[in-house]
Symmetry: C2
Subunit: 216 residues, 2 copies
Amino acid sequence: MARKTREEAEQTRHLLLDTAEQVFWEKGVAGTSLADIAAAAGLTRGAIYWHFSNKLDLFNALCDRIIPELEILDARLLDSNVNPATRLWQHGHAMFALLHDNPRLRRICGIHHLGCEQVGEMAPLLLEQISWTQEKQAKLQQVLQCAQEQHLLRDDIDPKLAAIGLHSLYGGLIHSWLLAQDDRTIHHNLSALLSPYFEGIFKERCWLQPLPCAAE
Amino acid sequence: MARKTREEAEQTRHLLLDTAEQVFWEKGVAGTSLADIAAAAGLTRGAIYWHFSNKLDLFNALCDRIIPELEILDARLLDSNVNPATRLWQHGHAMFALLHDNPRLRRICGIHHLGCEQVGEMAPLLLEQISWTQEKQAKLQQVLQCAQEQHLLRDDIDPKLAAIGLHSLYGGLIHSWLLAQDDRTIHHNLSALLSPYFEGIFKERCWLQPLPCAAE
DNA sequence: GTTTACATACATACACGAATGTATGTATTA
DNA sequence: TAATACATACATTCGTGTATGTATGTAAAC
């Protein structure tokens, strides 16, 4: 009915984002109308169209909220004074810990994996995911190359392929984890699930030694 | 305008399924209307409603067409006279070979991963995927247990967890493969991508020896 | 071998709700 | 008083489901 102060308007914006996140996760992106979101938030479509230009814009704004938290993860993967193998090991665990502790990340991750189509009208989303995947794989590859220079990799391991494999394993585990969210098996046995791949990539369980591992 | 013979009607049905598969893959399931499919097939919605009761029914019929081919894969995983480790190794390669050779499987797989929402109205799909995942993991676990009885597994490996890990790795690789379909990296380096996990699970590269491996 | 009767395989037309985008109203607040 | 932060109202489009039309195939009756 009336205008609120800027602060309150910002609150409404976040309320809309939170609500949309919830409803998207429950009914899918294509499956929810803007009226659904507005009603769930106790507002009208007018409020949505005031803050966002359309559903895609709202969806993008919603996704952007988790970028900083993921960037922190990646930053710690790239620079840390422990040896590269341990960095990768810790990074894997940190990812799932974050996924477990952060309901927002969990929901957005779930929406991307199960709650939205990435073709046709949503194709830009797919392109984003592709570039994000490539960047992530490049970072993993960089750390693996660093490990190779320190002679931590098994002889027949190609850092690029190992990066693709690791990234795929993470993605697959996240997917399995999302499919059965109340099943704590993956969360409780993450180390045992990741170990085989690390065993196959690195020599002598070096990823369990947090030593800086003097570079050449 | 008129009735065709049963044979021709069956052709129309398959034409509709093929066309729907194509259009779903291009524009997403929620993103395509029945009119889109009919137009792409050179027919009208009347033809679709004659053969199927609605879009979900059409979609299910479309998915069911690949079940037999997947069952053949699973059958060969479970009974074969080579040792269980080799069976798993060959099964992994057979999966990707099938995915590479069979465009229909590739498209349906793509639709499931990127072209449809699995929540809300499509939730039954999610339940199907969960039960299918559990069955698949159970089969992998069964073969891994068989390997354990033949002392092919490393000592600290739990067959159930290894099954989850393997299945996740497969799923993740398929996802990566779908994201960049024209990139042949995964297809050409599958062995190098799977090797680390096998190395971490099994002893002494036993999966490369097709010997029956006399049971206890 | 026709004719008749009915089922089949669609096309066409219609009625309805749902969703979107926009235009306008309105009470604040700065 | 002018911009803000929404609510309300409206027009339009799109998709669905169903009802109906219609030409052909199919089989039995005669």
